[in-house]
Symmetry: D2
Subunit: 295 residues, 4 copies
């Protein structure tokens, strides 16, 4: 049993914190939305009114918010985590944020003698509920090992991606490839259809050939091919187009800051942005096939 | 044992025809390059001087050339296959050509009572030599079944993709997805490197995650990850960048003719064209990572 | 006064042929749609039932249709123009078609001793009505000079772009640059708006700076900047998005056939195709700003 | 005569500060590179060792550096401009930097009662020397009017683009359109060449038609068309490819932060990044035609 402080109880934070409560930990929770706190106290968590209360006596403090600016404002300042967290505690940032922001926080934490890892997750709300998330860790081997038993109660695959910020790096590199290959599959499936080639036939061929990719064989964007695909469920996410866009934008910021040309990553980002701006942000990201098809 | 006429003895035609000779068939061969004919007669094939000779008494006539124009000129006219092939024979076009050209030839063949299939192959020179090609068939079920035993002596995976031209359609849809996903992997690997994330680490993570694709897990474009990758062999093809460009150009022609938008397919085509025009056509197509890296 | 045969009486052919009638020529007309013929006979043209009638005694024969296939079927075969046109006449193809198709027709015409030019037009229906078209000519200097007085009655700017097919080449090169720069202006205007920079201010600055282009200064895609812009008229064309897409597709076919990489041309084509496929083909091509804005 | 402090004496800062000295102002200068200071003192400027010295008694303080981080570190902290500048003075940031960074500095300056404008310039080293720069101002009307007489001694066109940060916004919107249209012209010129259409002929046609743009008519990327073009001078800049890339990257950061899709802007950025990474950063930005041509 650990004493855990948890900040950020949204779509992802809620089920993760719930799992930690269920695992028997003493969890103190905070969010800017009071209802979000209430939802967790109903599960057995303790409410907190300030970051200082979250930090007090906690062995581990989690943050799970939307942006680097939010993590920064939670960590920094007189009311922040860096000021109030115990020197014996571990700070785990599960947010998906800009890698430069993440590394800046790591550097400051290290200079203050605070143990920290970045630990962005993938797997969506369903994965958070089922505790089957993939969690990618950036930080020291030692801190990775400290966190691992706890993270195992939140996810299935816990991977040490390297030094500070590398959890973020791994997530955005993977998801950039994912976003591109999903559009590639949509283009290929639509082209096949227009050419009079049955989609199922292309699926059967490419699944076992050089066009194989997870977007096709585990998440096919047309109904009837892969049972668990959102395509069979009206493109209800799953992993929403707006979440994919967020990760693609992070990949582009990282790429542009680090002199790494990503011509297809850039184009995939633009296409998801056009798609989301047309009002499709809440659709599963595989629903971009409708945009490609013009349907 | 079949009597086979074989036209087109280049990089691909040579090993395929050789395998047919070795399988015990009586093979008559033709090419515009005399040396190409000699290379086959040295293996036991019979030389022919005209298409009429190729067709005479043949149970099966193969064509394996570069462009739709070439197949058309072989088939049409007073000296062509359509005029000289037996009504009992089967015409198998193994060339990778424009789908409209292919269907036009099918239509004409059918009107003349000539049995024909399109049967483009993938697997490269190595696959042709080892008789491990994947062969995608367009044409009637009946003609597919007639061809299958023979094609089994040339390749490992023989697939009926549907009606006339669908062999071509399947190949270009698959290879368009392949070309895009290869560049996606190159972008992701280079971005990881620039972010200080070890390529091997990203490989380990993404191979089992949503970024997984054949270009990564079976053909990784950096050394040391997948043993059989051309990256371990100085990017010696394998499947050359210029052959990938040819297939991408075919995909774009098909897409544009059939009102199927392929924004990433178009961009991948342009990138391969820029890469090939800089003198890299003979490098394996995974070598485009050098272009992305700027190395 | 010339005796003129005119084939193809659609949106463009109708006003052009009408202008030729008004200029005092004896015009015989043909179209597959009887109503289209009637519309011209009401203006004083003579109807024809066959291409042979069109060609008989004509000094000049015009074709103004949609595709290279259509021009080819008008020209070739026993009922075609090549068979029936007088050796003293001039054939003027005003259609915008694939450059390879155009050159193939030129070659055949030349071998038959028939004088021919390609003369695609730009300026839209409004330009056709007002006889202010820009007409780009491909063919010999001699044939250009023969055609010029007549073309001056249809358009304002008559340009000799060079040898056979170069009229087509000039049009698609120009229009590819146009399509790209229009999207560039839309992206720039929308970015300015999102950044809180008044569009009018950006217009004032860039109009006199290095971002200046015709798409901005003569055809601005937002209301209130350029009086004649379709943006001031609900994006009523003008030059429709589907006509722009047609020209972009021609540019891509030419580029891909001739080993000329056009990464931005390819992307602009894909964007117009996505836009048109969403049902916007009849909107002016500058209306793509709605697609960029997500409005 | 004004008392001026000037920080940042690189390629651009040097000639601008020199012009201010020549105009009779009392200029105190600072740079991290001692030689850069010496070069200005040789022109009659006074050297300073600290920002405090620069600010002391100055009516105007200029900053002309590379990045938002640099401007921030010059302005903030105990040794910074915000601490030492007179409340009666005007701070003019001529750097081209991220718009968010610029606005953050404006906000802080305003809260401290410091008058500030952003005033990025375009026109390159040649324009800086000749005092013909275009200078785009963001800030209050009042501060714009205060700065204008001085800026008139540095540039020819002084434009008020609106509130804080809008100088930056105007520059990057303009230059994004510029970068895209330059590549568009390169693609069009190369396509023309491959089609056998003389570049000069396309230039003559498009210069007066809908493909017209500054990149073509004032800065044509092939020799012999526009006398002042770097193409006539071996692509010696002018405006270097790396400076264009910097502005495109700024445009992409702004676009992505502000939910403004720029598919062609993104692609142009990737192309310039590939071009620069191949070692072409010091070539004029119009030299990207070599990349498109594959020469």
């Amino acid at each position: 049993m650990k004493k855990i402080g948890f900040i950020g109880l949204g779509h992802m934070g809620n089920p993760i914190a719930t799992n930690l409560v269920k695992a028997g930990h003493q969890v103190t929770v905070y969010d800017v939305v009071p209802e979000a706190i209430n939802a967790l106290t109903a599960q057995g968590a303790q409410p907190a009114n300030t970051i200082a209360e979250i930090c007090k006596d906690s062995d581990v403090v989690f943050t799970m918010v939307q942006t680097g600016e939010q993590v920064s404002s939670l960590c920094r300042g007189d009311e922040g985590i860096f000021k109030h967290i115990s020197k014996d505690a571990l700070l785990i940032d599960c947010s998906s944020i800009d890698i430069t922001d993440s590394r800046s926080l790591h550097t400051e934490a290290e200079s203050l003698g605070i143990a920290m890892i970045d630990a962005p997750v993938s797997g969506g709300v369903a994965g958070a509920k089922a505790a089957t998330l993939t969690i990618m860790i950036g930080g020291s081997e030692e801190n990775y090992n400290r966190a691992k038993p706890l993270l195992k109660q939140m996810g299935k695959t816990i991977i040490h991606a390297g030094a500070a910020g590398n959890g973020q790096a791994a997530k955005i590199c993977n998801n950039m490839i994912l976003g591109i290959s999903m559009i590639a599959v949509c283009e290929g499936f639509n082209l096949a259809k227009q050419l009079g080639l049955d989609t199922k036939k292309l699926f059967d061929i490419s699944s076992k050939a050089s066009g194989q990719c997870w977007s096709m064989t585990s998440y096919a964007p047309v109904p009837g091919l892969v049972e668990s695909s959102p395509a069979n469920n009206g493109f209800k996410p799953g992993f929403s187009a707006s979440m994919m866009l967020k990760d693609l934008l992070l990949s582009q910021r990282a790429a542009q800051t680090n002199n790494a040309p990503t011509p297809l990553g850039a184009e995939a980002t633009a296409l998801y942005e056009l798609f989301v701006n047309q009002g499709n942000g809440d659709i599963d990201f595989s629903g971009i096939i409708k945009f490609i098809e013009g349907s």
